[in-house]
Symmetry: C2
Subunit: 275 residues, 2 copies
């Protein structure tokens, strides 16, 4: 199992790369190829659009690569998503793709193009301090357990049939674009980080007002972390917000989900049937 | 000229209400009716959805009211926009509507329903300190000059044919919803406040990827103020971001516009032909 790491959004830190290399060396069940593009820097991004696109296209076209693992989120994968999907090389279809957060733009587009994608922890999570360094390691191990041997223990525990997972803001920003996938009949898991409650309410209005989203089977809410202060107090919490917008739009609310911007984040394969 | 003030989003402050009342008294060319709902409070909002909707519907249905002036932005008008437009009373069609920022959800929906709406300063702007209190007064005078006597000096100075104006985030969040208007052939003016440059880039991706937005005649950029820090530095400014997304999506960039979240904000009537 040969896993390539590329960074379509923000730069991977050397510290995280070293931590992931050590984890992989200790496992001995896979090989990691961290593309040099991961360490490029161009303002906000891990190199210019052209460099991020070229690295991603290179590993997608390489028949020796079994999986493409997005290094981290941040912002920027949407800028190269459409070009990523143009004239897909045959080798791109024979591998799987893993990431979350901003990588959702790519997960959506690649899934729409018929490729095998999953939401799950990324290499930069290795140095997450939110649940302690040990849990950052556990997040990376969970991702590798999924990539290498499709370990069911890595999965979000309540998956039930076709599912997708997105960061709420990313989901809102991909609606109506060329990477919007078909949501018909799926369990849609969402999570959010570092937003004000009023902005979450607004995003839920936008997302649940979409006729495409109204075709989901259920909507489930992952963790909403690092909520920014609302002045005055918003008056209701994230669960009440999501339940209310589900109610208003006729979408079935399926309860909480075990995903989020943290080391406890689980794997959600985008699939007609979850394996 | 009888002008009703209601608050479909956040609460009007007593200080701003007093300032606007004084300005109106000094002018002597109009009468102001500040609805008591403006001073309600329910968490983030100027009262519960039901109260904000009822006040708005009340003044819309009142034949003695010539214009409805939204008190301020913030967040929340989207929550009552669809209900605002249901079974419109005849009197609602015989008046004009003015506001900006979060009120854009209502401007969009009311315009779509065939009513006369305009982007422009709101009562809460009376106490804006950004350009000094005097300029807050000037913003309110400009709005009243437009409402009372359609003073061309209040208009954004480079309007040329059918135009609309929106806060970028509001525009992004109304796409695909029931209040999305027809953008075909209009000059679309946008502005933004209190966002990170990466989020502005993401919103521009979302907005310019929309086939509905790609039908505009031109896109013009108002002021982008109070930009939140980007770490690392984003690498390009707001004008470069907007020009690049226009270029990528085939939308003509029409240069800068004299609107923004400040006391210099001008009036932009939504109209097939600007008067």
């Amino acid at each position: 199992m040969r896993i390539a790491v590329v960074a379509p959004s923000c730069r991977l830190t050397e510290e995280a790369a070293a931590a992931v290399r050590a984890i992989v060396a200790a496992r001995g069940d896979c090989e990691l190829v961290i593309h040099p593009q991961c360490f490029l820097s161009d303002g906000h991004f891990a190199g210019p659009d052209e460099a991020r696109l070229a690295a991603l296209r290179e590993v997608m076209a390489d028949p020796a690569i079994d999986a493409v693992w997005f290094a981290r989120g941040g912002y920027g994968s949407n800028r190269i998503a459409e070009a990523t999907l143009a004239d897909l090389p045959e080798a791109a279809r024979a591998k799987s793709y893993l990431g979350y957060s901003d990588a959702g733009f790519l997960l959506a587009g690649l899934y729409k193009a018929g490729l095998e994608v999953a939401w799950g922890p990324m290499p930069q999570d290795a140095v997450r301090g939110d649940h302690g360094l040990q849990n950052g390691t556990a997040a990376v191990e969970r991702a590798l357990d999924w990539l290498v041997r499709r370990d069911p223990a890595a999965l979000e525990p309540a998956l039930d049939g076709p599912s997708m997972a997105f960061n709420l803001t990313v989901l809102s920003n991909l609606l109506g674009t060329s990477v919007e996938p078909d949501f018909t009949g799926v369990d849609l898991l969402i999570e959010e980080v570092s937003e004000h409650l009023y902005a979450i309410d607004r995003s839920m209005f936008h997302v649940t007002s979409s006729p495409a989203i109204q075709k989901v089977r259920r909507l489930r809410l992952g963790r909403v972390s690092d909520i920014l202060p609302n002045d005055p107090d918003f008056g209701r919490d994230e669960a009440a917000i999501v339940e209310q917008w589900c109610g208003r739009s006729g979408i079935l609310f399926g309860g909480r989900a075990d995903i989020g911007h943290d080391a406890g984040n689980r794997v959600v394969p985008f699939a007609r049937e979850n394996r």
